[in-house]
């Protein structure tokens, strides 16, 4: 345990801080691309699909974490595949997988019978129960996400700006889109068991909305989204400890508040400009 000042003087708070900072930085990095692609609810949708994966694992006796990961990655890539083949718009493709995921999960848990209770522990983690092993997993994942985004943000931006032009230029549009979807799925599934699906899905979107209103370039949007994500985590953890609130939800509310504040400031600025 590190000798950190209050409120991070306890080990569970230090582990929550470590896992939270990693998730707070890397969820918005992946989320920036999803938001620009109008797939803001992808994180939430992956959580729904993972439910079917967990149930399948419990039913077959395989490790539910791995089955959830496989099903979620396939689901996220399926959403992209439908969209790329122009078989469905982004939001319709998401809906198809959301509802099939939930329904499939319900049917499979029904078949698994007495194992119902086990499903919940795989779907709803809490940031205050992070173990040292969990924190190490999250750290590994975070480093992987940051590295991928740092190396590939330009080609991913090309694809988001104009898929046809990127295809003409010879970029592997399908590969990059499916790769991004898979990265999102891995991030959500690995983190939701540890910090909860609400926290991970919300941190993929809300800090990005704030960053879009502050940043003056795409690169700055990436940096700001991570800064807002990490700040929301730290503030939320402190306030939750002081006031005795649910930490995951408090973090999400702070991320939402930053979005409202940035939008308000933006409105005032454009109002000012219109009058000036």
């Amino acid at each position: 345990m590190l000798p950190l000042p209050w409120p991070f003087d306890r080990q569970y708070m230090q582990l929550a801080l470590a896992a939270g900072v990693m998730v707070g930085a890397c969820a918005p990095l992946v989320g920036t691309f999803l938001v620009q692609k109008r797939l803001s609810l992808m994180g939430d949708g992956i959580g729904h699909v993972a439910f079917a994966g967990v149930a399948a694992g419990l039913l077959t006796g395989l490790s539910p974490l791995w089955t959830a990961l496989v099903v979620a990655v396939l689901g996220a890539m399926g959403i992209e595949w439908l969209r790329l083949r122009r078989q469905a718009s982004g939001d319709l493709a998401l809906a198809v997988f959301f509802y099939s995921g939930i329904a499939g999960g319900v049917v499979l848990t029904g078949l698994a019978g007495s194992l119902n209770a086990g499903v919940l522990t795989y779907l709803f983690g809490s940031i205050l129960t992070v173990s040292p092993t969990d924190a190490a997993w999250i750290a590994g994942l975070g480093i992987a996400v940051v590295t991928v985004v740092a190396l590939l943000w330009r080609p991913l931006l090309s694809v988001i700006l104009d898929e046809d032009a990127a295809r003409v230029a010879g970029l592997p549009v399908e590969g990059l889109s499916l790769g991004l979807a898979a990265l999102a799925a891995v991030t959500v599934v690995a983190a939701m068991r540890i910090v909860g699906v609400l926290l991970i899905a919300a941190l993929m979107v809300l800090p990005v909305g704030t960053a879009q209103r502050i940043a003056t370039s795409f690169r700055a949007t990436l940096v700001w989204s991570a800064v807002v994500g990490v700040s929301s985590v730290v503030t939320g953890l402190v306030v939750a400890r002081v006031a005795g609130l649910a930490p995951g939800a408090t973090i999400v509310l702070f991320a939402a508040a930053s979005f409202v504040a940035a939008s308000g400031a933006g409105l005032m600025r454009s109002h000012h400009r219109a009058r000036g």
């Binding site: 230029a169 010879g170 949007t221």
Partner: protein, 262 residues
Amino acid sequence: MPDPLASPPDPVASPPALEVDRLSFSYGRNPVLDCVSLRVEAGEFVALAGPNGSGKSTLVRAVLGLTRPSAGDVRLFGEKVDGLTSRWRIGYVPQRPPLLEGVAVTVAEAVASGRVARRGWRRRLRAADHEEVDHALASVALSDLAGAKLAELSGGQQQRAFIARALVNRPDLLVLDEPVAGVDAGSQESFRASLVHMVRDHRTAVLLVSHELGAVADDLDRLLVLRRGRVVFDGPPAELTATGVNLGVHREDLPLWLEGIG
């Protein structure tokens, strides 16, 4: 590994930049393109005109390899479009700028996103690439707005940014799909100047699909007119203007002329 920035082969010995050979395409049972053949040589400035529904957009998509034709062949620089190795040699300016609302992307970032294709998507851009970005922005007179958000520019300025993105790899073939629709006169003039510069000074082949050819009518080497999926005219624009067709007010005039030639 070959240098991705190696010079293209000697233009004098090169095959045509674009060769379309008896291309046909149909949506279900509706024929859209019927045995279309055309060539654009290096350093040639060719426009493609025709009324709505004549198959222009489908032809452009097939030329770029975005749509697979029912029959026929598209070759770019002598290679089949599907197997083309140096795809960065094509510069493409799409018809409509994509949705940009809320996206904080600067003009320079958008242009640099085109450079990724030439450098190779797994590699980082270097100082030389950023110099090319600056050069492309200067060629469309957007240097002052390099750091501005793309979403906050006027329609004409956005279109110039997309032209800069197409020019940033110094392409050997430039394909522009209705690039000046709804663009102000000042932007049209700078657009014309940058195209003429590419054709005359860099021997770039240009295929310009447009309703409004007034701005470039005097610079064109050849005009192709497409009607109901067939090429009904292929020659210097002077041949067409001699018959009284005014390319500047194309929208009203050309369809009338087309009715006459059946």
